[in-house]
């Protein structure tokens, strides 16, 4: 795509103040999303996916966070905007869906009010207009009898419904970019598929860009065009989805793929695991961050941090020995591509 990307994150670094000191949760992350495109960000818990997502909208309390780098939205650096300007971006130009629909809705407000809020705020709709719009949005997200649902409270509807309501809230102002932070993790498998389908369908209809944050490679394979794999606050590999699944380069990416259980695998075959655990952000390894868990690491990996190298075809990988790990036939047989 030769057009300018909708969102360009450049060398984003996020330091968070916690009770036990400051940690650098995101360290030099770079990626971009085009209009109408879905970018997947995958990684284990604690790799900085959610922090990256929330940093785009600057959702952290100002006193707890320090950003550096750039978050260019249509050429404007969001990190430089005033609070006022940022408020007019949130929910209007860029919106967000969160992981847990149970706790992400206000328990004492009706669904309709919560959807209407951003419409009143950004579009200046009256109470009546916003309510009508809320009913339409509920209908759009596939909620049956929206005229009744609009006056109900979150505790009166199911988890899947609540995530639909979250999507309705996110879509209310027709944003150009939607960030979905593990939108299906807290849901039943059957509902997961419906929600993903809904997001994909709405994206095709509105042409918005989507950032899909997930730890589920199945989700990535299903709806993403490009994928960034994150490990310990950094992007370790980024490529088009086919490219990534067929020609993964980073030992971590390969490890992730091999640890997906296969429905057609032999029953007594052991599931692959990546040895060790993600180190704490307080004790980031010197050199390559994955080196302590990597079978192929040598002296160079332990002492010198590899840069994120991008090849001509846009496949980027942060490894001294890209492609060293055997992919075997794993990726081809994952069954992900059906």
């Amino acid at each position: 795509m030769a057009t300018k990307p909708l969102l360009e994150v450049k060398d984003l670094k996020v330091s968070l103040a916690t009770e036990t000191g400051t940690v650098v949760a995101v360290d030099g992350v770079t990626f971009h999303v085009h209009a109408g495109e879905t970018l997947g960000i995958v990684g284990e818990s604690g790799c900085g996916k959610s922090v990256t997502a929330e940093s785009i909208l600057r959702l952290f309390d100002q006193e707890d966070v320090t950003y550096s780098g750039q978050v260019l939205y249509e050429g404007t650096d969001l990190l430089q905007l005033s609070d006022r300007q940022m408020e007019s971006i949130r929910g209007n130009e860029i919106s967000m869906i969160f992981q847990d629909p149970m706790s992400s809705l206000n328990p004492v407000q009706t669904i309709g009010k919560q959807i209407a809020e951003s419409l009143k705020l950004h579009r200046g709709l009256s109470g009546k207009q916003a309510r009508r719009a809320a009913v339409e949005l509920l209908r759009l997200t596939g909620i049956p009898s929206p005229e009744q649902r609009v006056d109900e409270h979150p505790h009166e509807i199911s988890g899947g419904m609540r995530q639909r309501v979250m999507i309705a809230i996110a879509l209310a102002c027709k944003p150009k970019l939607m960030i979905a932070d593990e939108p299906t993790t807290a849901l039943d498998v059957t509902i997961q598929a419906q929600i993903l389908e809904l997001i994909g369908h709405l994206q095709a209809e509105t042409g918005m860009g989507v950032i899909m944050i997930t730890h589920d490679l199945g989700v990535v394979a299903e709806i993403c065009a490009r994928v960034a794999v994150m490990y310990l606050g950094q992007v370790v590999e980024e490529a088009g989805v086919d490219d990534l699944f067929y020609r993964p380069q980073h030992p971590y990416t390969i490890g992730l793929m091999r640890s997906i259980p296969r429905i057609d695998g032999e029953r007594n075959r052991k599931l692959h695991v990546i040895e060790g655990t993600v180190p704490s952000l307080r004790h980031v390894p010197a050199g390559c961050r994955f080196a302590p868990r990597c079978k192929y690491a040598d002296e160079r990996c332990l002492h010198r941090e590899p840069p994120l190298n991008r090849t001509a075809d846009g496949h980027a990988v942060r490894c001294w020995y890209p492609g060293i790990a055997p992919v075997e036939e794993e990726a081809h047989e994952l069954g992900i591509f059906g």
Binding site: E54, R90, G91, S103
Partner: protein, 316 residues
Amino acid sequence: MGGYVVRRLLSLVPVLLVVAIVVFSIIHLTPGDPAAILLGEEANKAEIDDMKSKMGLDKPIYEQFGIWIWGVLSGNLGQSIFLHKPVTEAFFERLGPTLSLTVIAQAIGVALALLLGITAAKRRGTAIDQSVMSFSMLGISIPSFLLGSLLVMLFGVKLRCLPVAGYQPLSAGLWPHLKYLILPGIVLGVIQAALIARMTRSSILDVLSENFMKTAKAKGVKEKTIIYTHALRVSFIPILTVIGESFGGLVTGAAVIETLFNIPGVGQLIVNSISRRDYSVIQGSVLLVTVAYVFINLIVDLLYGLVDPRIRLSKK
């Protein structure tokens, strides 16, 4: 909901019975003879005995209790031996000043508490938060008569802008009515505020870390607006509980402040009646005050459902 209210009202009966027995026992166990007090020091024994039998005090105590309870059940709380009028009349005369004072104190208290509590929660850990919390500690600890005396000294004696003590009914005009209640209202309000502010702060802090606050922020809602439209209502249940409790405390008479400011309220009535051994007034007032207290709690419970739709009582 109707069923719930009826059940709550029925549960009032045993509560009132216990209160009646306790109050009756305590005042009859305390030394002091109402007949002797009524007749003065010059009265001789025969006169006192005569008075006693007229008042029914020569009967065995269980019989006295029986007579009183029978009266209560038929709506007659008895006659004040000292005020020469029915207890109910004496009580309801005094209820007006107490209610006015309560409303003013509670308005000052809640407004101040919400302002302070919310500010402290928003600025948690800062100097502002700490000063609010120290103020609230001071408010909880300071005796009401001390704060009252200090305010009287400043506004009543030094600045001479407010009366030192006294009371005018609302029928005398709004300002005359209010000006007597401002100082006692501030004293009681500040003390209530101290408690409610602490609850508000901790309750809002709990809610601020909830996920739906992030959702609201991601919608582009201003941080100030988020606190008032999203956080306050969700965190209001514990705040409401404290408000209800303090309201109950005020309605039942702020005896010290009513005495200090010479406001003819319920608290003063009860205190005076105790020193006069005016049994029927003490018994009747305490009983009525208990009813008021239980009713306020009932109203608070019903308000819970209004604040938080997850606690709608009707669905039970």
